[in-house]
Amino acid sequence: MSIEELAFLALAVVALVTAVAALLVRELVHTILWIGVFFVDLSAIYFLLEAPFLGVLQLGVYAGAVTVLLLFGIMVTRKRIFSREAATGIGAVPFALAAVTFIFAVAAVGELPQTSQPVRAYDPTLLSENLFGTNGPWLLLLGLIMMAAVAGSIYLVREGRE
């Protein structure tokens, strides 16, 4: 195996472990920690895939803003957070569903070309060209949605609600 493959394998393992851990630990603040590691791990994967811009973005947005946001959320709803309500018993149905989904996807995977493909070199100019050109509309849409989200969130948390 090449070094990339090895690196990928390691990163993949870490990603899975941290994700599962985040969901299963008792204390809510601990999950934040695990989640933080997860995001960083993903960012590493992006770098591996010749998408450094994305990797940085991931770090900034996720590992940075989202984690902090979650922390804030926990802080504000402090009263209950340290209770034992974090987890529920493993329900058979949801677990089965998740398992089925996984199996499906694996089966689908079986249809993918087994061979590896070369990874392209990175060129930021081209990326921005693409982002604002071909995929420009998506970007605009994102902007709109963000606006709506901001407005909505402010409305949701306004003081008048009882």
Binding site: L97, V100, F104
Partner: protein, 651 residues
């Protein structure tokens, strides 16, 4: 042109709801009478013309099999010899009864209803007579039945009246069902028959006539003979119901619960005559087989005798006359069965007049003394001379004494049947029964007369003092008396003769003046006289003939009085049979049908209860549903779809 008058006259006798509606109704029925008589005269002048005005109001597409050329529903009026004859009867008697009612019904409540119902009845009866096709005929037939229900049950607060009305309706209903079946059978048999190129009977609306001949023409009586015979029997059943022949006779005596005027109109002259008219129409336009004819003759003759026996002992004046009606109808039925429809109708014609006369005279008596029990009456000829005379005239006509009307027509019937005895020896017993009934007829009617009118004083001293009724009651009596005398003599009027002749088509009339017939006539007159004499012996001059208790005839008497226990029998059948069926039906309804409904209800409730648990309110659950749906979608898309494509494409 004359027909538009008909329509107007007919429509004129619709329901009236006014306080002084009596006179309005009388006016309209007078108009109708004028129209009717005019039409009748028109027919006599132009014998054998059939005028038909019709309108097809519904035409259904051809249905292969039964109705290959389609099916039409037609409404129209037909004026032909028989309908003209009947129309005269209906309108004249109708008018007279209306007039009489003004006086007779003076104190009764609910008068507007009475006149409305009576008018409706006249309209229905006229419609029946003028119907130009079988379906229209049936419609009016039913309408007449309904009206009789109303009128018999006029005093609806009297339980006996209400139940009598129901009885009448139900018994005639049995007949009606048979009639309907008969209609269907005729439809089936004759659906495509008819004049060349017309498409057949069904396609043209089941008309009676085409031009001046029966619509079915040469095809009359052809087709499946069994079918035809059964159809004929069914028709006979219907007629028997309406005309109160054995075994559907039970309703008529009880129908006397209605006002006497109603009895006069409906049960003497018109509605009961509808049955005979039906038989005549069927025999002329639809066709009876010889088996049918035998059946008809049998029923007619038997009933004639049978009813007369019951009239012999009855104490109620109206019921005596009622039985008389049944008996006379039997004669008419017999005549039609023998193939002489016009002769039967002639008797119907005369009978209408003298029977109505008898009823109205009886009504006059009842109005004066307030009772219907003959044994309470007596000596009325002193105080009610007109009524007594009227009743006597009616009685003589009934008994068949010349020169009164009944003689001519009844004798015609006897001659007619007699003439067929050669070719139909099985008619003999019925002929004899009818013949003997002549004696009985004379006897019972004069028994009634003597009981009511002869002697010096009423047997029951508490009876109010009798007097004649107002002029509205007397005039009809006089007119009818005249008719009772003269109607028979009409046979000598050439126009009338040709009317009768033409109506029968080629069937001819019985020889009336041959030697055999003179013998027959004399014999029947003798019988009649004998009957009167016997009545005088037993009941004349205020005598009352009381059968001693130990007499051997007592059981017979009781049998007769109880009407051969027919009523009891029918009641028992009705109670046990119908009630059982009703209970079974109720059980079925409650258990099966309601059970099914409740079952549905429970299934739904249960299902929905289970189903609603999906909405747990817990978000995670909903998310789970979403995922499940997604998976299903994937399965569908990725597995099922390609599979199907392969199947369909390859297969």
């Amino acid at each position: 042109m004359a027909l538009s008058f008909v329509v107007v006259g007919l429509a004129g006798t619709r329901m009236r709801r006014l306080e002084w509606g009596g006179w309005v109704a009388v006016a309209f029925s007078a108009a109708a009478m004028v129209v009717g008589v005019l039409i009748g005269i028109g027919e006599m002048v132009n014998p054998g013309t059939y005028t038909d005005v019709r309108y097809t109001w519904l035409h259904l597409a051809p249905a292969p099999g039964a109705f290959p050329n389609g099916f039409s529903l037609v409404v129209g009026t037909l004026v032909d010899p028989i309908s003209a004859l009947m129309l005269i009867v209906v309108t004249v008697v109708g008018f007279l009864v209306m007039l009489y009612s003004i006086g007779y019904m003076h104190q009764d409540r609910g008068l507007p209803r009475y006149y409305a119902e009576l008018s409706l009845f006249l309209a229905a009866m006229s419609g029946l007579v003028l119907a130009d096709n079988l379906l229209e005929f049936f419609v009016f037939w039913e309408l007449v039945g309904v009206c009789s229900y109303f009128l018999i049950g006029f005093y609806y607060e009297k339980p006996s009246a209400a139940s009598a009305a129901k009885e009448a309706f139900i018994v005639t209903r049995v007949g009606d069902i048979m009639f309907l079946l008969g209609i269907f059978l005729f439809f089936y048999n004759y659906a495509t028959v008819g004049p060349v190129g017309s498409g057949g009977w069904a396609a043209n609306g089941f008309l009676f006539t085409n031009g001046n001949a029966p619509y079915l023409g040469a095809a009359l009586g052809t087709g499946n003979q069994t079918l035809l015979t059964v159809a004929g029997i069914m028709i006979l059943g219907g007629a028997a119901g309406k005309s109160a022949q054995f075994p559907l006779h039970v309703w008529l005596p009880d129908a006397m619960e209605g006002p006497t005027t109603v009895s006069a109109l409906i049960h003497a002259a018109t509605m009961v005559a509808a049955g005979v008219y039906l038989l005549a129409v069927t025999s002329l336009f639809l066709g009876f087989t010889s088996t049918d004819q035998l059946a008809i003759v049998a029923i007619g003759g038997f009933t004639a005798f049978f009813a007369a026996t019951m009239a012999v002992v009855h104490p109620d004046i109206k019921r005596v006359i009622a039985y008389s009606t049944i008996s006379q109808l039997g004669y008419m039925v017999m005549a039609v069965g023998a193939g002489f429809a016009m002769v039967g109708l002639f008797h119907l014609f005369t009978h209408a007049f003298f029977k109505a006369l008898l009823f109205l005279a009886a009504g006059s008596v009842i109005h004066a003394v307030g009772t219907q029990d003959l044994f309470k009456m007596g000596g009325l000829k002193k105080t009610m001379r007109l009524t007594a005379a009227a009743f006597a005239i009616g009685g003589l006509a009934l008994a068949g004494i010349p020169p009164f009307a009944g003689f001519w027509s009844k004798d015609d019937i006897l001659s007619a049947v007699y003439s067929q005895l050669g070719t139909h020896p099985d008619y003999w017993p019925f002929f004899l029964l009818a013949f003997v009934a002549v004696f009985l007829t004379a006897y019972y009617i004069f028994r009634a007369w003597f009981l009511a009118f002869s002697g010096d004083h009423p047997r029951d001293p508490t009876l109010p003092h009798a007097h004649e009724g107002p002029w509205v009651m007397r005039v009809p009596l006089v007119v009818l008396s005249a008719l009772a005398v003269g109607a028979g003599l009409l046979i000598f009027v050439p126009g009338f003769q040709s009317l009768l002749l033409s109506g029968n088509g080629a069937a001819g009339i019985p020889p009336m003046y041959g030697t055999t017939d003179l013998l027959l006539s004399s014999a029947s007159v003798a019988l009649g006289a004998g009957g009167i004499a016997l009545a005088w012996v037993l009941w004349g001059n205020g005598r009352v003939f009381v059968l001693s208790e130990s007499s051997a005839a007592q059981p017979v008497r009781r049998l007769l009085l109880d009407r051969y226990y027919f009523k009891v029998g029918y009641d028992w059948v009705g109670a046990k049979g119908v009630y059982t069926v009703a209970r079974a039906a109720d059980f079925f309804d409650r258990f099966v049908i309601d059970g099914t409904v409740h079952g549905f209800e429970r299934a739904f409730a249960y299902g929905s209860d289970r189903l609603r648990r999906i909405q747990s309110g817990v978000v995670s659950d909903y998310a789970a549903y979403v995922v499940a749906g997604l998976i299903a979608l994937f399965v569908l898309l990725l597995i099922v779809a390609p599979y199907l494509v392969a199947k369909i494409g390859g297969g």
